[in-house]
């Protein structure tokens, strides 16, 4: 199946959760915030949040700014 992560198309062999997606990218859950189809997924729900084909995922973090 295909999903979009931060605007990039990503191919997945099998359905995964947000927690697994973060692990796959080597991202620490405590350092990011995640949206699925424009809705925020609370951090404690990552392990249960299943990703479906066509989902648009945004993963953000803090960077330097003024």
């Amino acid at each position: 199946m295909e999903i979009t992560v931060n605007g990039q198309t990503i191919k997945l062999d099998e359905p995964i959760t947000i927690a697994q997606l973060l692990q796959r990218f080597g991202m620490e859950p405590v350092r990011v915030a995640v949206e699925k189809n424009r809705d925020i997924v609370p951090r404690k729900a990552y392990a249960q949040a299943a990703i479906s084909p066509g989902d648009a995922i945004e993963i953000v973090t803090f960077v330097g700014g003024g």
Binding site: Q8, I40, T61, F62, G65
Partner: protein, 274 residues
């Protein structure tokens, strides 16, 4: 004197030990940023929300690893947003990131809604629109805006936790271009509400700009480029700390009136040979 020297500033849910709020952008390294934060004496730093990189994630270094949660309150901004919808989206992402993160700052946001990429001037209509949504959503919003007196009044009425007029355009280093507007804003917003926080955000070039703003009676100054872009950023961070404290003290102490003609400091009586 102790009361006069107090540098504490209360904004929304937080009490800041220093009246200087500093940014985290544009530093040559995260180590340098950390040293500058230390030298600035600030205990509140701004951060921006951006997409995480899917590959090459800066070898695992996250900016938060260089900001001590026991020492600093984080102020997430909505920099780079050009309409109310983007502002609200980014503010909520920032809040989510800080929730149960070990850092303070989930309750508030620096609301920044810009007009275009060339001037980076705040867009007043989108700013007010976003503020109304964020206030309903429970945010304490510190609102970056232009130094328009009436706009600042409308933003306060709409529930802004603090008003942050720009001294001059972001990163321009032009200082406070219209001190008279700032004075009127202070008078209007603090009428019957003397503790309402008004902060100069953006435009600072050097320490005297900070001192001038503080002497006008501004409650605090938010700056980034003036430190990060200085030839010796750590020294400039220290200078900004001193300027903030000096300006605040001078404001509280009360300056003498300006006069056209001289007044002698030494007595006229008893001059030799008179």
């Amino acid at each position: 004197m102790n009361n006069l020297a107090s540098q504490e500033l209360k904004i929304g849910p937080y009490s800041l030990k220093s009246r200087l709020i500093v940014g985290t952008g544009k530093y040559a390294s995260l180590e340098l940023m950390q040293q500058c934060h230390d030298a600035s004496g600030s205990n509140c730093v701004t951060v921006a929300v951006r997409r995480e990189r899917l590959v090459d994630k800066n070898s695992g270094r996250n900016i938060l690893d260089f900001i001590d949660p026991k020492r600093y309150i984080l102020l997430p901004n909505t920099a780079g947003c050009f309409n109310a919808e983007e502002v609200v989206r980014v503010a909520r992402l920032g809040r989510e990131m800080l929730t149960d993160s070990g850092y303070c700052g989930a309750d508030w946001v620096k609301l920044e809604c810009l007009g275009d990429t060339k001037t980076l001037l705040p867009e007043p209509v989108g700013t007010l629109e976003a503020l109304k949504v964020l206030v309903k959503d429970g945010f304490q919003a510190l609102v970056y805006c232009s130094d328009d007196v009436m706009l600042c009044k409308r933003l306060k009425e709409a529930g802004a936790a603090a008003i942050m007029p720009a001294g001059s355009p972001i990163g321009s280093g032009q200082g406070v271009l219209n001190p008279n507007a700032i004075r009127i804003i202070l008078e209007e917003l603090k009428q019957n509400d003397p503790n309402y926080p008004v902060i100069v955000d953006a435009g600072v070039g050097t320490a005297s700009d900070v001192a001038l703003a503080m002497e006008l009676g501004i409650d605090g100054v938010l700056l980034n480029t003036a430190i990060a872009g200085a030839r010796e950023p750590v020294a400039m961070a220290h200078a900004m700390r001193l300027a903030t404290e000096a300006g605040r003290l001078a404001h509280v102490a009360g300056r003498i009136p300006r006069k056209l003609y001289a007044t002698a400091s030494s007595p006229w009586e008893g001059r030799v040979g008179a």
